[in-house]
């Protein structure tokens, strides 16, 4: 898959110019209207004191950015997003690779496994959240009943600030592991059988040896792609926060995107929300560029 090969400009007389422009125009118009102009506005507003509803706005330079640096709740929100991502991305990667390797070596039930592990990726998260909040209820949830039966302490999964974010992260892994499994399966399928045959001659026919010396180096590009993709997805976590904790208890599960949502659409603090959005944009933009680069360079399906 070569994604980024630069657009070749065909010097072909038969290629018609003005019509081409007409064809591209709706897209250009909309891309500018939906992406370029709004982003310019967001950056502009972040330099003002505009709040939703004001009739005018004053230029305040970087004041909002300074406010962000001195705002413990926003810094915490950023940290929560990072924390969530640091748990979800590596775990999803490792588990996905592990599961994919197990499935890859098996022919029976392969299809069945693929379907099962992929279910959470397609399922409407809010619907699943309704189940999770029941399963994880601190006092009457079945998971806690099982814990008690096993002689363990109950855990207020979603209402104890020490556990809430970890719980959401675990749900995040549950949700995304199928995605990384499928990507790894595709990556594994691309490894030529000869390589394993050759390895077998050298005595590396299975187990950890084969994995560490043969499979892993070959799967690294896929792993990198999965890592970045999962990082981007994890960093944008919103649904589970909105549906399960609303950022609580306290602000212990407020992530950056949820904070933006609150500032922009609950409190109408538009300029501050714009400032946080610029930060969010910068982070995601960087990661996605990196993803495109990696996809272009290394991954061949």
């Amino acid at each position: 898959m070569t994604m980024l090969s630069s657009p070749r400009r065909p010097r072909d007389i038969a290629l018609r110019e003005p019509r081409g422009l007409m064809l591209a125009l709706p897209a250009v118009f909309l891309l500018v209207g939906i992406f370029v102009v709004p982003i310019v506005i967001v950056i502009g507003v972040s330099l003002t004191d505009y709040n939703f509803g004001d009739s005018g706005a004053g230029f305040v330079g970087l004041r909002n950015y300074r406010e962000f640096l001195g705002d413990p709740t926003a810094l915490q929100a950023l940290w929560h997003s990072i924390y969530y991502t640091l748990i979800v991305a590596p775990l999803t990667l490792c588990l996905g690779l592990f599961i994919a390797c197990l499935i890859q070596a098996r022919e029976r039930f392969r299809h069945f496994y693929e379907i099962i592990f992929f279910l959470p990726v397609t399922s409407t998260f809010v619907a699943m959240a309704l189940v999770w909040q029941f399963l994880l209820h601190g006092r009457i949830g079945p998971i806690n009943e099982w814990l008690v039966r096993l002689g363990l302490e109950r855990i207020d999964f979603l209402t104890d600030p020490e556990y809430a974010l970890i719980t959401l992260s675990a749900i995040g892994v549950w949700q995304l592991v199928g995605q990384s499994t499928i990507l790894f399966l595709a990556g594994l399928a691309a490894i030529p059988q000869d390589i394993y045959d050759a390895g077998a001659l050298d005595g590396m026919d299975q187990g950890w040896d084969r994995f560490s010396t043969l499979t892993f180096p070959l799967i690294t590009p896929t792993a990198l792609f999965v890592l970045i993709t999962t990082t981007i997805t994890a960093f944008q976590v919103f649904d589970s926060v909105a549906a399960l904790t609303k950022g609580g208890p306290g602000i212990s599960t407020q992530t950056l995107l949820y904070k933006i949502y609150l500032e922009a659409y609950q409190y109408s603090n538009t300029s501050y929300a714009a400032t946080l959005s610029v930060l969010f944009l910068a982070i995601i933009f960087t990661f996605t560029l990196f993803q495109l680069f990696v996809a272009n360079r290394n991954v061949h399906y």
Binding site: L4, P7, R9, P10, R11, L15, R16, E17, G20, L21, L23, P26, A27, V28, L31, V32, I34, F35, P38, V42, V45, I99, L102, R106, R108, F117, V121, T122, S123, T124, F125, V126, A127, M128, L130, V131, W132, L135, I140, P142, V177, Q179, I182, A189, A200, Q206, F225, I228, I232, T233, Q236, D239, A243, Y265, T270, A274, F280, Q291, L292, A295
Partner: protein
């Protein structure tokens, strides 16, 4: 696809390895499936059984009662209709806008085509939640919130669609396009009669990706919709949970099942395209 196990004499060893890995997979799959099983069981419980007998198999009649409750108490059918309408409209616009653009980028001599492609790539890197802020303000100021229009407008131009189709059209032989032009085909005819048919697999992959993304989206409906009748399934479920029926877990679970079934069907019907779309986008 699966790699045949390497030839070896240690067959016994292999068999136990196979059993071990199947066992591991079954355990892991068990974790994945727990919420679904719980959902299916609870959807058949009456309110008074939920806590008193949470484990046994529910009676079939309870399922029917809860289906009735789910559709009767909240406008669940309306949510689902909105979901279908919105995903279909978004997909329609995305394809109708992206294909001509992708075609122009590859098969026409376009001024600033490098710049345009750069724009597409840049837009691909933008998390859509950022431009939503001004779009929300714009929609609010023209009084267009709470409409289908507001639900679809941030998504009508998909840089990903342009990107994906451009890649595909690139490999479409330019000679055929040239010949078609000499035969008097208009550009529109070339697109509809030659390009679109050749793009079918890509369109399918993109469609599956787009439909699931927008059916499941919560962020934008939560912002742009405050009228229950305009809610899409995820937002509707939240209302449903907090509302009247919130205490009736059985009916709530039934509603949740209704919301995930369409996407499961899409997935079963188009698994291959699904995987392909995901391999390209990373599904975000």
């Amino acid at each position: 696809m699966a790699i045949a196990s390497a030839p070896t004499t240690r067959t016994g060893n292999h068999r136990s390895a196979a059993i071990a890995s199947h066992a591991t997979l079954w355990i892991l799959a068990g974790f994945i499936v727990v919420p679904y099983v719980w959902m299916a069981l609870t959807a058949g419980r009456m309110p008074d059984e939920i806590f008193t007998r949470p484990f046994g198999l529910p009676a079939f009649s309870n399922y029917l009662a809860n289906v009735q409750l789910a559709f009767g108490t909240a406008p669940l059918a309306r949510f689902m209709f909105n979901g279908f309408a919105v995903t279909a409209l978004i997909l329609g616009f995305q394809i109708a806008i992206a294909i001509p653009c992708a075609y122009a980028l590859t098969k026409c001599r376009l001024p600033f085509s490098g710049l345009l492609f750069g724009l597409v790539l840049a837009a691909l890197c933008v998390p859509i939640q950022v431009p939503m802020l001004p779009i929300y303000i714009g929609l609010a100021s023209i009084g267009a919130l709470n409409t289908y229009f507001s639900l679809i407008v941030p998504f009508v131009a998909s840089p990903f669609a342009i990107f994906l189709f451009r890649q595909q059209i690139q490999s479409y032989p330019t000679d055929i396009v040239r010949a078609a032009r000499l035969d008097g085909f208009s550009e529109f005819e070339i697109i509809t009669r030659l390009i679109v048919p050749s793009l079918r697999p890509s369109i399918a992959a993109f469609a599956v990706f787009s439909i699931t993304t927008h059916w499941n989206d919560l962020y934008w409906p939560m912002i742009s919709i405050s009228d229950i009748n305009m809610a899409t399934p995820p937002l509707g479920l939240l209302y449903f949970r907090d509302g009247d029926i919130g205490a009736n877990y059985g009916a709530l679970m039934m509603a949740a099942i209704m919301a995930i079934i369409p996407m499961m069907l899409v997935y079963f019907a188009a698994q291959r395209q699904f995987v392909r779309g995901m391999a390209v986008t990373g599904f975000r």
